[in-house]
Assembly symmetry: none
Homo-oligomer: 246 residues x 2
DNA sequence: CGGTGGCTGTGCGTGTTCTCATCGTCGCCG
DNA sequence: CGGCGACGATGAGAACACGCACAGCCACCG
């Protein structure tokens, strides 16, 4: 089931209307903090654990709808944790966190069951998007919720990664796509450059803050070119997207 | 009976609308885990057992619509298990798992009864496809559910392994066929190279992800050659297939 | 042995990301 | 009302990663 909050954000809810529950497992406190904050912002209920045993215990009584699981835990192997989790919660989808270089290695088979993974360092938008996808497909949320974001005559399909305005197809690069998704998930709402940087770029991004301006400019060229603009600048505050009409 | 989920995936259901039930029997935990995960994702209900006695017991009260049975079990010979299974569930189809070098002639006799087998190491797409076939043919699911996938003017018959585009027959190798089937079972949806690798290649495949790129290029040559392309690259995300028109 | 199918490795072209620098513009304040 | 300073937009181009082609190897099979 989906509802639309007063802010215009679309929230995932369970069939009974209660908030989605997510368990976050990572041994680095900074990561669990970061994720908990971001996921709570989605309107979800979050519980976190720092190791495998804690994860199993928490899973037992928290009964989450999805789990974010770091593959590198201090007390036990990621696969062992996965196995025990599965015994507790057979159908719960898992989003794995892995180091960039450790990939390809033991990841084989993990995405096969409808699970998914992201590599560290990740961007919060990416984690949230994948989690939403997993939850949507697992049936923990209402299955009618679809994967298309719409703002005015602009549409973005999260499954096919397709974007079009007024029926005309628009090609975006990966970063442009993530940025636009973030804007469109928060329509009519000013997003500061800091917020955008924190959500759309990976958490270890050390670069210049003006990449945001740059990518906004790219987006405008592709989306607003020769049309009524939908992306607006609020000088000193940030950017927002809204339907061209209003 | 088949239903189509919001994602466009087609699910097998029993005549009464309840999910199909599958029993997985293997002594290696990693295998049962892997299979359970993948088969659950198909929307099926899974129970697993690690040996012959467990299998018989579980079969008795779980009453599965199909069984995946490793021929090499610790406690008893595969044929013995099969016999006892048959006493419990006379009509249930069985998918045998065997080692590559195992005597194929002995297995060959077994498949005469409408059963089937795959050799280890297998790919998940293969196991899922065979199981679907077995269940469909056994009548546990609606018999009218057919075996043809269609995307635009491209058709793929899972029974006859025939592929054609715009009526023109296309010859594919085994790997190409599996890859195309996976794409066509998830139309208009971006599939990452990792997902593809996990589903289409065998679980012990240690190679590089660029085999996927290679086989995509093979498929394009055969399917998209000189026509409106149906296979699309989403740089940094993966591949997807969609009808040429849209 | 020739043919087919499956895969590895490498190298190239190009798309993508990001930095730096410059130019434009908005708004404040004298 | 005019000018200045801060902020934002945009152009150029460097560095990098990604996707893809090509060539060759191995295994299997008739």
């Amino acid at each position: 089931m989906t509802t639309t909050s007063p802010q215009g954000r679309t929230e995932l809810l369970r069939p009974d209307g209660s908030p989605v529950r997510v368990l976050v497992v990572d041994d680095e406190l900074s990561i669990t903090e970061l994720l908990s904050m971001a996921l709570r912002y989605e309107g979800w209920q979050i519980r976190s654990a720092g190791d495998g045993t804690g994860a199993i215990q928490t899973a037992r009584d928290f009964r989450p709808d999805a789990v974010v699981l770091d593959m590198m835990l201090p007390d036990m192997d990621g696969l062992t944790v996965l196995g025990r989790l599965r015994r507790e919660l057979p159908d719960v989808p898992v989003l794995f966190l892995t180091a960039k270089d450790a990939v390809e290695d033991r990841i084989a088979g993990l995405t096969a069951g409808g699970d998914d993974y992201v590599t560290k360092p990740f961007s919060l938008e990416e984690v949230v998007a994948r989690l939403r996808g997993l939850i949507r497909r697992s049936g923990a949320a209402d299955r009618r919720s679809d994967s298309v974001l719409v703002v005015g005559d602009l549409t973005l399909d999260e499954d096919s990664h397709e974007v079009s305005r007024a029926g005309e197809h628009i090609h975006l690069t990966a970063t442009e796509f993530e940025l636009l998704r973030f804007l469109m998930r928060n329509p009519r709402r000013v997003l500061s450059k800091a917020q955008i940087l924190d959500r759309v770029w990976s958490y270890d991004f050390g670069g210049q803050a003006n990449v945001v301006e740059l990518y906004i400019s790219y987006l405008r060229r592709k989306i607003d070119a020769g049309r009524e603009p939908m992306i607006h600048t609020r000088r000193g505050a940030g950017y927002l997207i809204k339907p061209a009409a209003s």
